[in-house]
Structure formats: structure tokens, C-alpha cells
Amino acid sequence: MSLLKIDEMTQRFGGLQAVSKFEIELQGGELVGLIGPNGAGKTTIFNLVSGFYQPTEGGISFNGSNTAGLKPHQVTSMGIARTFQNIRLWHDMTVMDNIRIAQHYRKGYSVFDAFLRTKKYRDSEKRIENIAWEMLEAMDLKEFAHELPKNLPYGLQRRVEIARAMSIKPKLLLLDEPAAGLNSADVEGLIKLVRWIHDNFDITIWMIEHQMKVVMSLCQYIKCIDFGATIAEGTPEQIQNDPTVIKAYLGDDTI
């Protein structure tokens, strides 16, 4: 059974068709890319998968169950985590707190447990703290645990955001332009990090990326969309030489 199956998904905003009849099927353990020119509808697809929008037509099923009508936090607790194009950390809370808050779905205690500091509360907080430390350790962020993200360099903020998404222990990780705004040294680091995550965790990664270097060196399979419709798909080599992709990015040679 496939991990994520999107079936003829269409999304309209008024008269604008942002996504039309998009289809994809991800198997466990894949590393797939989604590319396309600006405004092609890539982020809309991610927003649909993570539950921000409900598709106008078509359905999304994750791990065999339909995600229609679920709120984003419910989708996340099913095992879909994501990062954002522009980093969305909670900048006035420590890195540690950022990761702790991402454990909300497994806190397992009610607000009254928090008031009374019951055993359930203490056990759960301890577990959350351990998970957070483990993740910081694994992502090499331990020394920044008590720093505020806004004081960290951009490359590290990316890493924290990915660590925060990973601390949810997702089955599917959606990366929305992880290399946006990074310098070339950071991009190298990012490629290594994504590959390391893919190799070391039981996870499927689906990424939107503009930097061809990142997509071509990481992804096993790429889907290219334009105006909400799929225009090409295949291995990195096939995509690189596909005339429709080149046309979508660079335009026609006739004037």
C-alpha cells in the first residue's frame, strides 16, 4: 500500500484554478521532488496535503485513511510534518521550547493535570523533554538548546525548523524550499542533512525546491508542474532534458 495517494486533486480559489487534477503516489522510503516555476501551485499542494485547505475535488489518503475534513493538527498527528518556505519558528522561545511545543499531540494529559501536576503530567513532560533532547542531539543542535532562534544564523534556523518537524516523528516530511535563502556552503550542509535524515530514519521525504543542484542530487523522482497541472515527471535526468520543462522555465524560442 502506498503511503500517500493523491487522487485527481483540484483546488479552485474563486475563478483561479490553482491545482488541477494533481496525482501522485508516494511509497514508503522515497525521496521525491516537486518543481515548477513561481506560482505553479507547489505550495498550494503542500497546504492541501497538510490540511490548510480542503481540496475542491479529489481526495488525499495517507496510510490508507482519507484526510478529508481533518484539521492541520490532526493531519500532523497522523504523521505528516512540514517546514515552511519562510522559516516559521517561534522566535521568542528557546530552541528547546520550540521542539517541546511540537510534541503537543502526544502530551496525553489534560489541562487539569497541568494545574495539579499529577503523575501523568510529570511523566509526560519528562518523556517530551527526553524526546526533545534526543532530537537536538541527533541534529547536532544541543549547544543551541537554550538560544532564541532569532539570534541564530539563517542556516541554523533551517536546521532547527527541520529538527522541529522531525521531532514529530513523521512518516512523511514535506520540505517547502529548504534551500531558499541559504548560501552555497549552507546548501551543501542541507543536502547532507536531508540525505542523512533519509538514510537514518524510516521516512519519506517530499520536497519543493528551486535550486536544481539540491533537487538533482537528492531526489529519486521528480514531478514538474505549471499552472497547477503536471507537465512532466520522471528521474532527474529525464526532467533535465524534457523540452516541456525547459519551456515552462525559460519560455518558447519563438517571439
Partner: protein, 337 residues
């Protein structure tokens, strides 16, 4: 030891105040200032949870205070006082000290339920639009009560002094002082525990980036509901205490001016800082009293102080820091958890 030092210091301070009041060390005026300080601490720290920690702009806090005040007053007067409409007391006055806290809590619970009126719209709206909704709720509550003849309508509701006397008849100790200090302790205790738990940190996450919070598995609607209900419930407790301290309530004492006073205290103390809220409530109460000789000119001076504060220290006294962040040495003596 370090873990409990703050609680012990607070308890000792409260005991000293109560003992002082009992021994007659403070006159009634000083006592009433201390009572208002306690009530203001509850108001400012509970509003701070919504305005400071959650980043919403609630300017109708007095509405919940009003609900709490009326509900707990009605309960106590119904049970322990002679009233023209509500009739003879239902219970012997000896039981007053036991039922008084229950009445206050009932007031808080009803206020929390009224808080849902604000919490549900907050799922979809935020910022300025939610601020308008809170003002609307403030007016709804006041107009509603003004049109309820059974509780006196615009003339107000009386009889709470009889309840306080009934408590004093049982044991002659400064009951209102005890209940107010207990209410303050309860508020600070519950808020401190709430905002330092992972559950309550979701409130800060909503403030800083709601979309990120939702995508990182925080059930934002539930947190908003719980936070608004907690905040308005505590305001209701403050209202109940206020009604019994004054002995008389009328709807207009909970109008937008009272809400503004709560807002001023929050902004004076610093957004999101619990110790700032406590500090500013104390300072604000003292300032109101110190400027009393100026009479009506007071309302020129106090807003002026606010203007100067916004000009020169817009983050308030404490910013968004706690006392232990400003003076790290304090951590040797207590922990903020």
C-alpha cells in the same frame, strides 16, 4: 527548598498581612488598599494571559468580572441574606464561611462559560476584529444586567455586606482579606502552572505564529478555548471578591473604563510577564491612591503617565521577562516553574 521558597515567602507575607489586620495594625483604609491590590493582581495577571501570552487584544475583561460579581453575589445573598426579591436566607448564617468560596467559584465558572462567547469567534478572527467582539461582549453583559429587574437593573445589587457580617459573626477575623489573598494565590498558582507546562506554552506559540502552531500539532482552537475560559473565569473570581469587598455592585462599575484599567495594568507591567502583572497591579493601585488628593485631575495625570510610559518604555516595566530573568541571582532563592 528552592522549589518551595517562593510559595513559603508568599504564604508568610499573606499571614503577616492577615495577622496585622486582625491585630489592628492597619486601619480600614490601608486594608481596603491591600484588598484592591489583590483584586487588581487577579485582574491584570488573568488578562495578561490573553493579551500578553496569547497576543489577542481583549478589551472587555470587565464583562467577565461583572458576571462573576453578580453570580457570586446572587448566590451568597440568596443563601445568607435577607433580600426583598430573593427572600429570606436559605441557610443558617453559621455556614457562610464554608459556602462563600463555593459561591466565588460558581461565579468564576459562570464567567468562564461567558468567556466562550469570545473564545468561539476567536477561532476565526483575531487582532482588531476580536477586540471589537470583546467590547461588544462587555456591552452585552452590562446592558443585559441593566435590564434584569430581579437583580436591581441599573440601580445595582446590594446585600453582600450582610454575608460578610455573617462570616464575621461566626469567627471574628478579617474574612475578606483572607479570601482575597487566597484568590490571588490561587490565580498566580494556576497561571504559573499553566504557562510553564508544554500545554500552556502552546499559548505563546499561537501568539508568535499561529499557522506554525497548528501545523506543529497544537490544537489551536482548543487552546484558545481553554485560555479564554481560564482568563475570564479568574476575572469572574476577581469580580466576586470585588462585589463582597465593596458590598454593592452596579453594572456601570464594570463598563469599558474598568476594562481599560485592566489593560493599563497589563501594558504597564509588560506583555506576557506574570511578575510584571503583579508588580504593575501593586504600583497602579498605589498610584491611584497616591493621586487621590488631586481628585478629578488624577484622570489627567494617570493617562499622562501612560503616554510617557509608551513613549519611553513601550515594553512596560518588565518587558516580556520575568523577575528571575532580570535578576538572575534570584534563581538561587526560587524557581519559576
Amino acid at each position: 527548598m528552592r522549589k518551595y521558597s517562593l510559595n513559603i515567602a508568599f504564604a508568610v507575607g499573606c499571614l503577616l498581612i492577615v495577622a496585622g489586620a486582625q491585630a489592628g495594625l492597619f486601619n480600614l483604609y490601608v486594608q481596603s488598599v491591600i484588598l484592591f491590590m489583590g483584586i487588581n493582581i487577579i485582574l491584570s495577571s488573568s488578562l495578561n494571559l490573553v493579551n500578553g501570552n496569547m497576543g489577542e487584544f481583549s478589551c472587555g475583561h470587565a464583562a467577565f468580572m461583572c458576571v462573576g460579581a453578580y453570580v457570586s453575589s446572587i448566590v451568597t445573598v440568596l443563601l445568607f441574606a435577607q433580600n426583598k426579591i430573593l427572600g429570606a436566607p436559605l441557610l443558617p448564617p453559621d455556614l457562610a464561611p464554608f459556602f462563600f468560596p463555593i459561591a466565588i467559584i460558581v461565579g468564576g465558572v459562570v464567567a468562564a462559560l461567558v468567556g466562550i462567547l469570545v473564545a468561539v469567534p476567536s477561532f476565526k478572527t483575531r487582532g482588531d476584529y476580536l477586540a471589537i467582539i470583546t467590547i461588544a461582549v462587555n456591552y452585552m453583559v452590562i446592558s443585559g444586567i441593566e435590564n434584569l429587574d430581579i437583580v436591581g437593573g441599573p440601580r445595582g445589587f446590594m446585600g453582600m455586606k450582610q454575608v460578610v457580617y455573617a462570616m464575621s459573626d461566626v469567627v471574628d477575623i478579617p474574612w475578606m482579606m483572607i479570601w482575597t489573598l487566597l484568590g490571588t494565590a490561587f490565580t498566580l498558582w494556576i497561571l504559573r502552572r499553566y504557562i510553564s507546562s508544554t500545554y500552556g506554552k502552546g499559548v505563546n506559540a499561537i501568539c508568535q505564529d499561529e499557522i506554525a502552531a497548528e501545523i506543529m500539532s497544537v490544537n489551536t482552537n482548543k487552546i484558545k478555548l481553554v485560555t479564554f475560559m481560564l482568563s475570564s473565569g479568574l476575572a469572574g473570581i476577581a469580580g466576586g471578591l470585588f462585589a463582597h469587598v465593596i458590598g454593592y455592585v452596579n453594572p456601570q462599575s464594570f463598563n469599558i473604563l474598568k476594562s481599560t484599567e485592566c489593560l493599563v495594568m497589563v501594558y504597564l507591567g509588560g506583555m506576557g510577564s506574570l511578575s510584571g502583572s503583579v508588580l504593575s497591579a501593586v504600583l497602579f493601585t498605589l498610584m491611584l491612591e497616591a493621586l487621590r488628593p488631586l481628585q478629578i485631575i488624577k484622570w489627567v495625570i494617570i493617562p499622562l503617565i501612560l503616554v510617557l510610559l509608551m513613549q519611553f518604555r513601550p515594553e512596560g516595566i518588565m518587558g516580556n521577562k520575568e523577575l528571575s530573568d532580570v535578576f538572575p541571582k534570584l534563581r538561587r532563592y526560587f524557581t519559576f516553574k
